[in-house]
Structure formats: C-alpha cells, structure tokens
Amino acid sequence: MGVSLRESVELIADPRNLDASVEEVFQTMMGGQCLRAGEEAAAYEPESVTAVVGFGGLFSGACVFRSDSGTAQLLAGRMTGMEFPELDDTVRDAFGEICNMLAGAWKARVPTLAGHCGLSVPAVITGRDYNIHVQSPEFRVHHFFTFEGAPFDVTIICDGLR
C-alpha cells in the first residue's frame, strides 16, 4: 500500500508549524527573534521582493517569502555580516536562501511530509504591482511578521496533496 499524506492534512496545515519554522530560521541564521504581526497585507514600498520555493512529490505547492527591498537588505546584512545599500544580486541570493530554509524547516516539522516532498531551487522576483495567484489551493497558511521592526510575510500554499 502506497503512502498517502491525505490523513496527515491537519498536521501539515497546522499554522504553528509556520511560526516555529520562521523562528528557527531567523534565530539560527540571523540571531534575532521575529514577532508575529497583524493579518493585514503590508504594502511593500518602493518595491517588493518575493522568493518562491516549490514543493513537489506527494505534496505540491510553494513557500512564498515576501518583503520590501529595505527588509531584504537588512536580512541579507544580518545573515552575512555585510551592509547592503541597495537591492543587488547578493541580497536576492540571500533572500532566496532564507526562503529555501523556511521551506525546508517547514516540511521537516511533519516527518511523513519531509520524506515525500522535494524542494525546488529558489526563484526570486523583484518589482512593483504584481500578484502571485494560485487557483483554488487546497489550503494556505499566510502569516505576517516583523524582524527588528522590518515587515515580511511567509505563505505556504498547498495546491495538491496525495
């Protein structure tokens, strides 16, 4: 009999997994604590940075990590110990890696999921006035946070579970 994640859906969709994953990654890699923020969509000015890591296998979907360019520069700085006055390739690289670690930490929270779900390499998108739309997701967990006062949000989207 094959493995199915369907019966673990409540465990997988538990919103506390996302908070714990964010806490783990930020504490370990940036040495600081994140605070949960309100549920309102933050307006990321002057431009937003979005990193996406896809999930494949028995669980398909994506981990989406978003912030403004200032937050991205701050996080890259905390991660590398360098200063970034602008949004350059190193900042984008660091931002993608944070998303990668968030995705990995999130799926590792549920052992049955971890073994049957692969990760894509991160893609990073920068710009203004764009949306990421997923048609009828199975579930979505979307939380807002701040790190040293800088806002960001993380979304786990599941568009298929077998």
Partner: protein, 158 residues
Amino acid sequence: MRRQFRSMGKLAFKNKRRAPINALWRGNLGMSEIRTLIVDDSSVMRKIVERALRQAGLDDGLVVYEAGSGAEALEVLKGAQVDMILSDINMPVMDGLEFLRQLKAQNLAPGVPVIMITTESSEEHVKQAIQCGAVGYIRKPFTAEQVKERVLPLLTAA
C-alpha cells in the same frame, strides 16, 4: 585576499585569506592546511559555511575552494587536492547526489570525507546521501557549533 582560481570556472576560486589566530585544531590535527571545497549554488551560503568553519576554530590554515554546482566541483577536484568537501544537495546543473555518484565513478578525491549541508533532511534523503558516499549531514539552518560537531571528528579520523 582572494584571487580567481584559473580554469575552474567563474564561481570557483581559491581563497588565500589567513587569520593569524587559533591554530588549536590545525595543530591538534597535525595539518598545516585544511583544504575545503564548498559546493553550493548560493554564493551567500558558501560564505556562511566558510564563516561557520572559521568560527568553529578552523580559521588558521583554512584554504577554501568554491563551486556553484556539482559539475563545477568536479572540475575543481581535477586540479586541486582537498581534505574535506561540504556540499549542498539541491543545485542546478548537477545536484549533490549526482556529484557524489560522479566522484565515485571518476575516482576523484578518494577517501576525502563529504558532508552534505542542505535543507533536505528527511531520513530518506540522509539514507540516499550516505548510500552515494556522504559521511555526514548538516541541516540548514545551522550554527557554527553544529558544523564543528560534524566536521572535526571527520578530520581527526582522516
């Protein structure tokens, strides 16, 4: 001071930086240099791994080679001898598992310990990496202490 390592591709270079501190582990291990190849498609992550090694006490004598994929790493190893390899798994062009298979198939770096540093950390992934020849596993995110715990016993054994 960093210079391009000729013929190794744009992401591969030899890092000659030396800090005149902490020869503790180098001395204990009886090694004048610890030549380490770090393989990761993220240049930021390669720097973070290098920093973790230095924080773990391997600062003095650490010589770092870098590669952005398994394919680049194989090229580096055709021209350089290393004491240890730290590799990501999820990489474009050639992933970490295929890199391990190719290492074996091409008999490159025989006996050199390979540690995977990756977000893929399920039991299945660990088993697969060990079957392909890895001797250790570090999950991202990681601390310098975790790197030290995994790396030093391997160097001592070598």
